[in-house]
Amino acid sequence: MPELYVLLVAMIAAAVVAIEIKDLLAAAVSLGMVGFSVSIAFILVQAPDLAIVQIVVEVLTVVFFAAVILRTTHIAPDAGRRIRGEMILPVVVFGAFALFFFGLAVQVFRELPPFGSPQMWVAAHYITAGLEQTGAANVVAAIILDYRAYDTLGEAVVLFTAVVGVLTIARQFGRKGREGNGGE
């Protein structure tokens, strides 16, 4: 389907812009562009649940990035374009790993069933028996809250831990010697 390929090109281009651009706020906005393209692509592969979650999560991600960037600084002080000696080793290691990983991916994807015909062994039972066994019309909701409810419990715990972590690290009140805005 040609729309999917257009979105993939937009995704990769926005990702390259987000990595290479100097202004940090523009990089956060480019990351938002990647998230939007992923969300529209989720609709094209018939996953409306994921599209809704991806759009709102990506908007909140850009808001969080902008909050932290505006509190601290704007411009990435990456010193110019000259190739420094200490940058050669990471780039070479990354290049070798990328070639190896990409080649491995091409070999492995030949073993998969062709794109557009999944195996669906577990899903066949969920689709045919889902409505009678759980009573929910949304098969994805039936899976995450009835057949695989432990995963949702695990997600709730992880989210709670992350929120406690953020509240502890970035706490404004109760720290000694802090007043007003931090980090001018």
Binding site: L4, L8, M11, I12, A15, A18, I19, L24, A27, L31, V34, G35, V38, A41, F42, V45, Q46, P48, D49, L50, V53, V57, F64, F65, V68, I69, R71, T72, T73, A76, P77, F94, F97, A98, F102, A105, V106, L112, G116, S117, P118, M120, V122, Y126, I127, L131, V139, V140, I143, I144, D151, T152, V158, L159, A162, V163, V166, I169, A170, G183
Partner: protein, 112 residues
């Protein structure tokens, strides 16, 4: 196979940002790109040509659906990705308050 390879390319771009870049915000952007790529890869694995979204609208319909199991796995992963990105950003904010820079080569001096 080409959309799957494009996902691998997105993951590799995120990995490049984590390994090579020196600014902490760029490293966090790389992690976020890797998460987007992995989530999209899972959704692509379950795609079936000519099938519908897995919502039953009528009890007598022909259930020609895409695979709902990868979608169920990715649904929680997207929200967890947001929470971990926020945690990394809080750490980056504290690092800036202490060292006044986002450059990781200068933070290694372990001042204070």
């Amino acid at each position: 196979m080409i959309p799957l390879l494009a996902c691998v390319l997105l993951i590799l771009l995120g990995f490049y940002a984590v390994i090579v870049k020196r600014n902490i915000i760029k490293i966090i952007i790389g992690f976020s790109l890797m998460e987007y790529g992995v989530n999209f890869f899972f959704a692509l694995i379950g795609f079936k040509r000519g099938a519908l979204a897995p919502i039953i609208t009528d009890t007598t319909m022909a259930r020609n659906f895409v695979d709902p199991v990868p979608q169920a796995l990715v649904l929680t992963s997207i929200v967890i990705g947001l929470a971990t990105t926020a945690l990394m950003l809080a750490l980056a904010m504290r690092i800036y308050e202490k060292y006044r820079t986002f450059d990781i080569t200068e933070i290694r001096k372990l001042r204070g």
